[in-house]
Symmetry: C2
DNA sequence: TGAATAGTGTCTGTGAGACAATATTAT
DNA sequence: ATAATATTGTCTCACAGACACTATTCA
């Protein structure tokens, strides 16, 4: 143990440390609808994330999360905001820091630290066409004690991911994630996706975070569908309505989408 | 919006970005006991954190969190582990990434990004004397709608901190913290402390995280005291015992510390 | 004996899970 | 009429808050 700070500082002199590069990766999440041929049924919903195809080495032709370098004079949070704006043309998007990854060999070119963020978007707001190399992938998540299976599907390509969970810490049920199968994603982005989805799943239970993915007006059925695709399970109607009762405000508008009882539209209620 | 990745990459060429320095700061938390002169009473407990006095510029003679630079060939998580080991001589300490701070002017010398960690220690395990420049400060936290008041006290110095909370995001009750009063702490460490304490307070409710600060054997009264100093409020005995009932295991050992009924010792129960 | 902590019993209210029942629409 | 969704009612069970009560020790 170092008895003085002088000793300590001497041992870990800043000059001993080369500088490194900092990037940011953003897990942009939304909910997609699929057209339904049965006029009675509601359109099916999917949890979806935005990926970009790399056209440069390293990981050429692999998919990755939108991201980029953080400028030397740029606030850390401004980098994901800038990239989000470039990718979606939107500025007021929910953004939350996820985790900072600092593995020595994350990037084959050089030492790169990456601070990842999660962003939630209402897809209806995205009027502009996506860039040619960008694509929304529907994500299906199956999780058990030991593994997380994520299937990403954009209609043309299917990307299967398997992440192994090993108990890292007894007291908080924290897991260490290890990517077991990943042939199509660049860097450690499979890890970021697993971490982000698991954080989102968790936060859905005790916050109003989903409303960041909702349009201004929505039916309770639609809202419930969004909860369901994120949580990956069906919810009981009465219980769901009790939980969200004081988070939403009923309007006089009505949505009538087919051969069933019409539904009132609701708004998120600001306290 | 960039229509091609080529365009995108061109605009954000890595070569445009200077490299920067990465440091790590660790909020080391524990619980301190104060001797009690009344032979009947239990020793009073305090939530406490470890600070180090800087003897170099910048912020010479200010207190700060233990920390240091991350080596170019060092795994990100290894840096806080290394510093913890240097500071405490212990290796198996609970460590969790808190948040990455990247303000442009965090450090007056140069651009430094800092990834902060929180560590929980059982103080009884610290047999070695602390370094001369290090000191445990008892922390008292008062929080209301708008502000967090933290008072740090090591018996010689009292450090008052005031952090303003402004609602950053309606949907998740996320706050932006702004340091309003801080005369004695270096860098943005007041922020790290506020963030860490608030994270800990939160996690205590839904994890077994406190057991990382407990010795192997403890009485339920002691355990309850630790919960109470972290949460900053008294708990009701029967309710507390119900909550922790299946987390602990009763042993045959007994602690007899004074003019009152002796108490059984318990252990943390691994599932 | 009294002050202090250890430990248990139990009532009450809240809230989630589960299931049942009613309402309304387009074809 | 029927299939589908919308919406509400209500029973039960688990559990946290609150308070009361008993047990045990040392000076």
């Amino acid at each position: 143990m170092y008895k003085t700070e002088e000793e300590f500082l001497k041992a870990y002199n800043p000059d001993d440390y080369e500088k490194l590069s900092l990037t940011t990766d953003i897990l942009i999440c939304s909910v997609s609808s699929e057209e339904e041929e049965n006029y009675r049924k509601l359109s099916k919903k999917y949890f979806s994330i935005l990926l970009v195809k790399r056209d440069n080495y390293p990981f050429k032709d692999k998919w990755c999360l939108p991201g980029g370098f953080v400028g030397i004079d740029e606030e850390l949070e401004d980098a994901p905001k800038r990239i989000l704006a470039a990718e979606t043309n939107l500025h007021d998007i929910y953004l939350e820091q996820l985790y900072t990854y600092g593995g020595v060999n994350r990037d084959p070119r050089m030492r790169v630290i990456s601070t990842s963020y999660i962003a939630l978007v209402d897809k209806n707001r995205l009027k502009d066409k996506l860039a040619d190399n960008a694509s929304w992938f529907n994500a299906t998540v199956l999780e058990d004690e030991n593994e997380i299976h994520i299937t990403l599907d954009n209609g043309k390509e299917i990307i299967p991911l398997v992440i192994k969970k090993t108990l890292k810490d007894q007291t908080t049920d924290r897991y260490k994630y290890t990517v077991v199968k990943n042939d199509d994603l660049a860097f450690d982005h499979a890890l970021v996706i697993a971490t982000g989805i698991s954080r989102l799943k968790n936060k859905v239970g005790y916050t109003d975070i989903v409303f960041n993915m909702m349009p201004e007006y929505f039916t309770l059925g639609e809202l419930q569908q969004v909860y369901e695709v994120i949580l990956g399970k069906k919810l009981l109607d009465p219980a769901f309505r009790r939980i969200i009762a004081n988070k939403v405000e009923k309007t006089k508008k009505v949505r009538n989408t087919g051969g069933h009882r019409p539904s009132y539209l609701f708004k998120y209620k600001n306290k």
